[in-house]
Amino acid sequence: MSDRKRSGGMLAGVSGGVAVSMATAATVAVVIVALLAAAPLMLDDYWINILVLGFISSIVVLSLNVLTGYTGLLSFGQAGFVGAGAYTYGVLSVWGVHPLLAAIAGVALALVLGLLLGLPAARLKGHYLAIGTLGFGVLMAQSLNNMVDVTRGPMGLLGIRSFGWSHQVWYWAGLAISLALVALLHWIEKRTFLGVILKSVKYDEISAMSSGIAVFAVKLGAFCASAALAGFAGVLFASYVRFLTPDLFTSADSFRYLMMTVVGGAASAGGGWIAALVLTALPEALRGFGETNLRLLIYGATVLCVLWFLPQGVGGVLETCSARWRRSRGGAAVSTAAANAVATASSSTKHPAPDQQRSETLS
């Protein structure tokens, strides 16, 4: 009885705190989005170009989030899917197909490849899965290089038609699309039944099966979704850059995407987005050090330092900050991280009321 009374009191206090913190969060969010949206008015085309490429990379990183971060399947061949999407779009648009149809075809072909790779790869684990996906990446790069009749191979594919957008429009489109995808994936992972299913498969397959989860089907679905997302990034890349060569989609690129994913924190959509932008822009920003190897040395050292000091990646920092911030604002507002600390101290943590949860979703 006294317990219920106290939790009621806590709840009242919390809803007040949440109202304040939500207002603050909304303000912060609006300011950040306004700054990002206004950026192309202040930057020159060169930097806008780099940021657009960063947005496109971030979509590849999100595709790796789905596969590696949520479902626990490592992919060393993600650039293969990007290449499939990009070249399908490129070739079809050169042949005169409408860009929208070409885009749909690009995503569809990547999805089919994801299914074909997933059929064997979803049965593999650990090193074997890594080697299998690596092999897929090499296969794709070689195919693009050698199917000269279709892809023009190392000569490069020219004359890709596009939507005729300016750099600015591309920037806004890239920003909106990538942020929408971040929000979608974040919501799926944190708030939906599907997120729980994916993570159950990631953390313990046997117990997932025993709970009636078709582990193989879930993995296959993750491969398809991830491939489609990566293919979509490829379509955007092709229609933005309008020039393709096979060496844009090699294993080195797969590793670059994977590195961004790890720096972002494998299971964090927001972290991955930030990491993709920063790691795309950083090599360019470091051009002040000249075109020597020093530039790449600094780049590599930066990545190593991030991983050394922040093993959970950018996403881990985001999570810690938001948990700490929420605790200081709302007292008992329950995030999972905060709840752990609270629950180990005392076991009086109550299940959060639905309205409180909803407000968290928005914050």
């Binding site: 729980v196 099966m209 009636g212 989860i213 078709a214 999972t336 629950a343 076991s347 009086s348 949860q357």
Partner: protein, 280 residues
Amino acid sequence: MSRPLLSLAGVTKRFGGVTAVDGVELLGMAGQVHGLIGPNGAGKSTLIGCITGVNRINAGEIWLGDERIDALPVHRRARLGIGRTFQKIRLPAQLTVYEAVASGLAASWFARGGRGWLHAFTSLRAPAIAQPVLAALEAAGIEDIAEVRVASVPYGRRHFVELARTLIAQPKVLFLDEPATGMTADERQRFSRQVRDVAARGRLVVLVEHDLTLVGELCDQVTVIEQGRRIFTGTPGEAQRDAAVIRAYLGTMSFVAPEVPPPAQSPPQPPAPTPGEAAT
């Protein structure tokens, strides 16, 4: 007498040259708590693996009601109503207790006639999930740790998380593999109550347990397994008086039995487990 809910006929499982489960027969009735006991290494957990689908059987038949299930994959059997907990608790450690229990809904939602993937994008806080989850948490007495990560839940209470996760799908047959390990006396009492409740609602509970006191308290029937063979089925009271069972246990009751039990004809040997044998 009604038809058995779970029936095993001649179930055999070999690992290479070792026959871990050897022609086991078993009939489980709805509303029963059926004990599965036997010395360490007798094949109890392997048998559960055979029924739940982790182990494919080499011979025999397994029926759940009217449905033969021995060729089905694990998740299909779970969807048909086979639930289990594990000897060594298996839970997604990084999920919260709430999420882990919610994941158990998959078994009923993806079952034949369930709405399946329509549920994939259901919010975790939607009533369709929140109501059964909160009810399961409450029944297991773990509603206070709903938002705690499984990894930071004490071991004894994790049994209840696993139990809640399994029970939320309302399985027809529930396998509990040594569930009382690491439980406090209070937790054991609460656990016993919950098991009796489950059986009272017309389910079959199969309990693998070394603690024979608990088995005696809970079980309507026990099946004793020794070296992969069923050597006895009856009430716990009968089991205590059965010569073959006594021989199998040799008075060591709840601990390691000697490596080689004596042949059936010779009189029972006094137990003489050396430390070396006990360690194996």
